[in-house]
Amino acid sequence: MIKAIRNIGKYLILLKKTFARPEKTLVYYRQTLREIENHGIGSILIVVIVSIFVGAAITIQTNYNIENPLLPSYLVGVAVRDSLLLEFSSTMIGLVLAGKIGSSIASEIGMMRVTEQIDALEVMGINAPGYLILPKIIATVFFTPMLCVISVGMGLIGGYLVCLIGDVIPVHEYKLGIQYSFYPHYLSYAMIKTAFYGFIISTLSAYHGFHVQGGAVEVGKASTRAVVLSCILILLADLVLTNIIL
């Protein structure tokens, strides 16, 4: 318990240092663009692949579960769209990103710690948490909602393709379903959730990487801890945010 409180304290102190005034805004800006490229654009492919397959699978499963002559088949499209918007493209993609981005951030910063690169920054008079972590937070918080939107789009395309190729339901019924009774609030809800997840992933992973002591084995362990804890907190945040926003 005391260890947990101490860790929360260290995490908050790190956050305070992270949000200190940058030494040179232009350098931080360039670093942020680099992080968007690494963690944002670099994650598009995995998001697209996962979303297409899951969108297709949800379409097949929903059709299987609600196959009833009394229910119109366009409801499959409605269910796919809402499943993607409400849970899959935010929370499930959040978990996927926790694995991809979280482990990358924790191991990158962890290796910088054990090879004394962070000490080198501090000796130069540079606020290492600000320089290393702030651009990562900005990049993930602003780019994960975009990944969420991409995921929704790709999931819907996956469903469309399976209707087209697999003859699950008629394509025009699917198209009608995904447009039927659409609440834009669902999209903003999903984007807000993923922005929170982005913050959780980047800060927790950076925290674990920043406090690594030892060598390569410790970096690996820190990376695993960062991913596991991020996943747990994403699920917890999902529950809390759903209660608050929906």
Binding site: E23, M112, T115, Q117, D119, A120, V123, M124, G125
Partner: protein, 249 residues
């Protein structure tokens, strides 16, 4: 000049520095020597501010480092250059970007001026045609030299070197030592070198401090280090059979 007064530092129940006091003079290579675990790295990290002493003071030209606020500390740190044991070059940047990094952060030079300064520093440490290479593409000795180039890019007043020869062959080690000595004299820097390499001690040790079990056990020059009554230092200096045979002769 850097002065440390009555420095104490402990981790958990173990004291690693006990009442260490010393002066490190300007324009000279000041060496801290001692066995592994004798506290020399902790002392160096305390001097540069990476560790905070439990008790005692570090003075940079009479300014008390421990009592400075964050802003004053960062201002002073811009006058420091440090060479780490593993070079600590930023592995995502090219050599030129590494050397330009402190200039980029703290100077108002144009890109062309920064490139010129970077080229000057790289040439000064004997590196040519490595600007676009990544640190991983260089040998250990070249990485150390690139790290020295980065350390001197802002014309520091204080240079700190932690085990500059570790992992290098004796010839390259001496090359690095002489480079550190030349830069110290040329730019009148206060240089502190942490080492357990006797070649370095004899080559550049204008002032030598011997650490033993967290305490300063001896102080002198490279000329005096071979003729001392200090038993612990003699055990350290003449640790090899070859050295003992030379001493006996």
């Amino acid at each position: 000049m850097i002065t440390v007064k009555n420095i104490h530092k402990h981790f958990d129940d173990r004291y690693v520095l006990k009442n260490v006091s010393a002066n490190f003079e300007r324009g000279k290579c000041n060496l801290i020597i001692g066995e592994s675990g004798s506290g020399k790295t902790v002392l160096l990290k305390t001097i540069v501010g990476l560790l905070i002493a439990d008790r005692g003071h570090v003075f940079y030209d009479d300014q008390d480092y421990q009592s400075m606020n964050r802003r004053e500390m960062n201002k002073l740190r811009k006058e420091m250059g440090m060479l780490f044991q593993g070079a600590a070059l930023f592995d995502s940047m090219t050599i030129e970007e590494n050397v330009m990094f402190p200039l980029n952060m703290f100077s108002k030079l144009s890109k062309k001026e920064m490139q010129d300064r970077s080229n000057f520093c790289l040439e000064r440490v004997g590196l040519k045609n490595v600007n676009t290479m990544l640190p991983s593409e260089l040998s250990g000795g070249m990485q150390k030299r690139a790290a020295i180039a980065r350390a001197i890019s802002l014309s520091p007043k204080y240079l700190f070197c932690d085990e500059p020869n570790s992992g290098l062959d004796p010839k390259t080690g001496i090359l690095i030592d002489n480079l550190i000595k030349d830069l110290t004299e040329e730019f009148q820097i206060t240089t502190i070198v942490n080492t357990h390499d006797m070649n370095s001690v004899l080559e550049i040790g204008e002032k030598v401090i011997y650490m033993f079990n967290g305490e300063k056990s001896w102080e002198g020059t490279n000329k005096e280090v071979l003729h001392t009554d200090n038993k612990d230092l003699n055990d350290f200096v003449f640790a090899t059979n070859l050295a003992q045979q030379i001493k006996t002769k």
